[in-house]
Symmetry: C2
Subunit: 328 residues, 2 copies
């Protein structure tokens, strides 16, 4: 099994790579080859199968075609400009999230027409495809009227994935990810960044800024769950998915207050006191257009599973990022 990951240097890309290497297989087939692509060449894993790392900018004409020359069995397309950046930089967001995705899909089609290659294509979408006012939970048959350019670009990706799958150029599965929490590492430009930092920083004794009220409710899953979603999407029997190729992933619906309650239970009041309330209307304006919860029944029936408490989400972070122990 040969897997290509775009955006492989990103947080999810690195975790997916590690997971695949650790498993040594994908579904019931051994993993014998990895291609890891990103704008800057990703670091190859120390062990594992034959791995090629590629510096590829999908917005450059010809880049997608080159990347697909080795005809991977599975393409996991993670490369994207995050929501905050896509909102701040209109041109970059459309270039990467729309044109880059389309270039990759078009290059798959060109290859398919040339030699019949029909890879599994896993596309990451987002709850940002939905825009307020929203029902809670959002049924999967709800309209996609995003209120950010990022959400618009992701919704277009879902439409293209379905049409290219229907045409038989590729075998697509879209995963509509919850907000990933707790994101490890440094904050990125995602407007949703605070959902992670209000837990991640206090867990290691550092301050964090909360730009929205504690009553804000949102839809979360851990990085570990996100990786599990992608692995499952890569091997799923798409006959069970049908023409509506993107699935709302399961998640945990929680308020910021409930996040902080879980932090208190796990790391004590001292940790919670490190969260500084500093309202930011710009972030609030984006976040309030987002989903509080999605109906993920279809994905759940297909075996996708997420965390059921924020205590669990914090514990996953402690296990995967902090070596299983909290700093004293």
């Amino acid at each position: 099994m040969h897997v290509l990951i775009t955006g492989a240097a990103g947080m999810i890309g690195r975790k997916l790579t590690a997971r695949l290497v650790a498993d040594g297989r994908l579904g019931d087939r051994p993993l014998d080859r990895l291609t890891l692509a990103d704008v800057v060449a990703p670091t190859p894993p120390e062990d594992g199968p034959s791995t090629e790392v590629v510096a590829a900018d999908l917005t450059r004409p010809g880049a997608a075609e080159e990347l697909l020359e080795s005809r991977p069995d599975v393409v996991v397309h993670l490369a994207a400009v995050v929501s905050g950046e896509a909102e701040a930089d209109f041109d970059k967001g459309y270039a990467v999230n729309l044109d880059g995705t389309r270039a990759l899909l078009d290059a798959v089609r060109t290859a398919h027409l040339a030699d019949g290659w029909t890879p599994r294509f896993v596309l990451t979408s987002s709850i940002a495809v939905y825009g307020a006012p929203l029902p809670n939970p959002i049924p999967e048959d709800f309209q996609q009227t995003p209120l950010t350019s990022y959400g618009t670009q992701k919704a277009i990706g879902e439409l293209l994935l379905a049409d290219f799958s229907r045409r038989g150029f590729l075998d697509g599965v879209g995963v509509r990810l919850p907000t990933i929490c707790i994101r490890p590492g440094r904050p990125n430009k995602a407007a949703s960044g605070f959902f992670s930092s209000i837990l991640r920083e206090p867990l290691v004794g550092q301050e964090a800024v909360l730009p929205v009220p504690e009553s804000v409710r949102h839809w979360h899953a851990s990085p570990r769950s996100a990786v599990e979603f992608l692995v499952r999407a890569a091997v799923l029997d798409t006959a069970l998915v049908g023409p509506r190729r993107t699935l709302s992933m399961p998640g945990l619906s929680a308020t910021v207050g409930e996040q902080l309650d879980a932090l208190r239970r796990i790391a004590g009041e001292r940790a919670v006191r490190l969260v500084r309330h500093k309202p930011d209307e710009k972030i609030m304006a984006i976040v309030e257009t987002w989903a509080a919860a999605l109906d993920a029944t279809r994905a759940e029936r297909l075996g996708f599973v997420a965390e059921t408490s924020f205590d669990e989400i914090i514990r996953v972070h402690v296990e995967d990022e902090l070596g299983g122990v909290l700093p004293s």
Copy 2:
């Protein structure tokens, strides 16, 4: 008031032009200029305001920018490859319906950023944005999971229109048109063509082919109503529309059998006998993914109105296309 119409040589484009010239105004402002664009330069109206006709292929780099140099107050974007052709010719459909529309939107944005120009932008969408299985009627908050490339391209157009409007580059209104019935003139490549030909041809004593069962239910409005929708969309107070910029237009839900009953009432059994049943699985496969009826409550509240019987739709055709009399 300066109005630019793309696809102005098409059926709706010509009717919209004639209507604007006849009114001599749009809303409460006099019509003092028209720009009519199509792949082949449209025929200018005999009377009316200052009119420029332009041969413009929006898929050619720079074409959209040139077309917008005169900064029209209203852009009505009708140019499109129809459903059957977009399904048969993947590249052409995406080039015209997606890239052409995006080029026009991007050119508006470039001009807006240069000098603040913010035109009303009327985009035609279609019931083809919805794909089976579908509720009847389709609520306006229903997901868009089209099952044709045409529907995919129109759904993407709706998403872009909303994002460009939200960004303030233009003031967009999308009209999700029913199937236009009775289309005058010769059949085109639309898979929906038979809905018109089974009435149009028999009304003038000619045979027509019906490729689907009489039980097929569909969603219709006359060309006259379609033009009225566009005129209303061009002057609508968009503060009343909000961020969900595309409106499902009202229409008439009727079966093919009900169409033929109306034909019988107006033109007699002899006319109905001219309809030859010749099942075509390829057309049926496309048509059965389409809508039987849409909930158009939001548009109706904003004053959009369509026909309420097929007798009325046939009478509109007789008045507008046959000089008000049936050939004996």
